[in-house]
């Protein structure tokens, strides 16, 4: 039944749609702070949530985010921090050395009292390989923002467990999956993978079927988990 209906409800994408999408999607390298300031026109074309007609999936470009909060941070930290918005979602890119202070101020001064998530992204081709992302929410302001910092392999971040206790497990998961260390974490050890496992699976150089053979043989008594 569904197959008969499919052509009627989902006409094939128009040709005019493709070039626009392709052009924006051209660069395989994910967005980088340096590219963020770019074309004004593309941004004004595709504002999210405008009218009932959905906008075409042409690549919107992150624009700058202006808010009293951002102004306060800019006054304080100047170039150590960049404020951007993409598809209606605001985020800050903060220098690694400032991250502890900024997160603490976000909680105390800007009322972001709920840390939704801490996660990371691995970009092996970049000089600074990791992006660590905090997703924050403020009950008082009903606002959601993201804070992002960029760090290299071997560097570490201050732990936010003192700021939001929920970061305990979340940071452990980031450590488990990416091998990023958080200084001052009360008990930074693996959480989803067993202790003694070798490797951090969400790094890009860790293969999809890769596993710690030695661990599997030693602990499970089988030749391979595959």
């Amino acid at each position: 039944m569904a197959d008969e209906e499919k052509p009627a409800v989902t006409p094939p994408p128009g040709n005019e749609q493709k070039p626009g999408g392709e052009k924006q999607a051209g660069s395989v390298e994910p967005i980088r702070p340096a590219e963020h300031g770019a074309p004004e026109t593309a941004r004004s074309q595709a504002k999210p949530g405008e009218g009932p007609r959905p906008a075409k999936p042409t690549g919107a470009v992150p624009g700058s985010w202006d808010a009293p909060m951002v102004a306060r941070f800019k006054r304080q930290y100047g170039s150590g921090l960049e404020a951007l918005t993409y598809l209606g979602q605001d985020y800050l890119i903060v220098d690694r050395s400032l991250i502890g202070n900024v997160l603490l101020l976000l909680r105390d001064r800007e009322q972001f009292d709920y840390c939704v998530d801490v996660t990371a992204v691995h970009y092996p081709k970049r000089e600074k390989q990791f992006e660590v992302i905090w997703i924050l929410y403020s009950f008082a302001r009903n606002e959601r923002i993201r804070v992002k910092t960029i760090m290299a392999e071997g560097e570490s971040l201050p732990s936010s467990v003192q700021i939001w206790p929920t970061c305990n497990w979340l940071e452990r998961e980031v450590f488990d999956m990416f091998g990023i260390t958080f200084e001052g974490h009360p008990e930074l050890k693996r959480i989803l993978l067993p202790e003694g496992w070798n490797g951090h699976p969400l790094r890009k150089d860790y293969g999809i079927i890769q596993q710690d053979q030695e661990w599997v043989q030693l602990n499970l008594g089988i030749e391979s988990g595959q």
């Binding site: 039944m1 569904a2 209906e5 499919k6 409800v9 989902t10 094939p12 994408p13 749609q17 493709k18 999408g21 924006q24 999607a25 051209g26 660069s27 395989v28 390298e29 994910p30 967005i31 595709a46 999210p48 949530g49 009932p52 959905p54 906008a55 075409k56 999936p57 042409t58 690549g59 919107a60 992150p62 993409y86 598809l87 979602q89 009292d113 709920y114 939704v116 998530d117 996660t119 992204v121 997703i135 009950f139 009903n142 959601r144 993201r146 939001w164 929920t166 305990n168 497990w169 979340l170 998961e173 999956m177 959480i191 989803l192 993978l193 067993p194 699976p201 969400l202 860790y206 999809i208």
Partner: protein, 384 residues
């Protein structure tokens, strides 16, 4: 030396040493194979007699690397995988994922699709709460509610089965809308289900709400304050039972929840009993939403114009929904290719489970079972 004195000398306890029976602290292992942990959760309990001094959760037994799998599948191919996280609320998982990708593509599902989505998601919320109630009550010792809730939950699963052919891992939605049009008699089935289940919820309440054993086992057990909830990132019914009127369906409405008239049930004391009351009230509110949605469901297309090959422009987006267990979020990073560069799931069960230690400290060991039940975790989602 005689045999008896040999044994006696072995039993001698030196100064400051304690025998097993004299020692106050006892480490007990619970799980991972334990009927009351709702899956493969292992909790190491440190006890003083019957009092819990502290706990440590050992998780990961069900870790399948969902986030890694996502990076190696196209956006469309990954869609069914999300059903395997919170497998008792698969529809909610699918809704969150589809909407996150839609947001990345900057498209919106058509109105009719949104109505179908809301109806199925709310039905799923009821079924998830029913399963929670049955198993939670069973853990505490009330056996009857399990039969009642599973009997009634079956009706929801039948609707799912008729709609998409699957009962649990439904894969009901597609990026851009729904794949299936509703079947002949869908509205009638949903309406008759609403009429059928409303008195059944009263029936569950009759069994438990004023039941003296139930009240004794749940009132004042596992109290979590509003401040504690916020600090620990605990969301969903647990947060609302602590007096915080917060529900993403109201705070930052998604799909078309802003069109419906419903309330956010809250309670004040944040104990196991209040969390029970909040979930009971939520089932009624879900029925209220379903009734409105099924009356107003418009005609029209069920899929937005989505390219055959989904290739979102480079960028990142976070989208979260109010799953039956709390805030379920998807953070997706696109590099402009057909596969997500990174997909992070913010699982409510994982974050809520972290509160277990705080909630059971100082309580009795039997209450650990009650608190694990009241947190309503699904290990498929905790471990992903």
């Amino acid at each position: 030396m005689s045999e008896a004195s040999k044994y006696l000398s072995q039993l001698q306890v030196g100064e400051g040493e304690q025998t097993f029976l004299d020692s106050n602290e006892l480490i007990i292992n619970m799980g991972p194979q334990h009927p009351a942990t709702h899956g493969v959760l292992r909790v190491i309990l440190k006890l003083d007699g019957e009092k819990v001094l502290g706990t440590e959760c050992v998780i990961g037994y069900l870790h399948r690397g969902v986030e890694k799998i996502a990076e190696n599948r196209t956006y469309t191919m990954f869609n069914p995988y999300v059903d395997r996280m919170d497998y008792v609320a698969a529809v909610s998982n699918g809704l969150g994922y589809c909407q996150a990708v839609e947001r990345l593509l900057n498209i919106e599902a058509p109105p009719r699709a949104n109505y179908i989505r809301v109806i199925l998601t709310e039905l799923n919320r009821i079924s998830s709460h029913q399963l929670w109630l049955g198993t939670h009550a069973l853990d505490i010792g009330a056996i009857t509610p399990l039969f009642y809730t599973f009997r009634d939950r079956e009706e929801i699963l039948k609707i799912f089965e008729k709609y998409c052919g699957a009962r649990l891992t439904t894969h009901a939605f597609r990026i851009g809308g729904c794949q299936y049009e509703t079947y002949e008699g869908f509205e009638r089935d949903v309406k008759s289900f609403c009429n059928f289940v409303a008195p059944k919820i009263e029936e569950y309440e009759e069994l438990l709400t004023t039941n003296r054993i139930w009240v004794e086992r749940t009132k004042g057990v596992g109290v979590l304050s509003a401040a504690g909830c916020k600090a620990l990132g605990v969301t969903g019914p647990v947060l609302r039972a602590s007096g915080v009127k917060w529900d993403i369906r109201k705070a930052q409405p998604y799909a078309n929840y802003s069109e419906f008239d419903f309330e956010i049930p809250t309670r004040q004391s944040g104990d196991t009993y209040d969390r029970y009351m909040v979930r009971m009230a939520e089932m009624r509110q879900s029925l209220r939403i379903i009734r409105q949605a099924v009356e107003r469901i418009p005609e029209g297309p069920i899929m937005a114009k989505v390219p055959k090959v989904i290739k979102p422009p480079p960028g990142e987006v976070y989208h979260s929904i109010e799953a039956p267990k709390g805030e379920l979020g998807y953070f997706i990073v696109s590099d402009g290719s057909t596969q997500p560069y990174r997909l992070r799931v913010r699982p409510p069960s994982f974050v809520n489970l972290q509160a277990l230690d705080l909630m059971v400290r100082g309580q009795l060991v039997a209450d650990v079972i009650a608190v694990i039940g009241t947190l309503d975790i699904v290990l498929g989602e905790v471990d992903r």
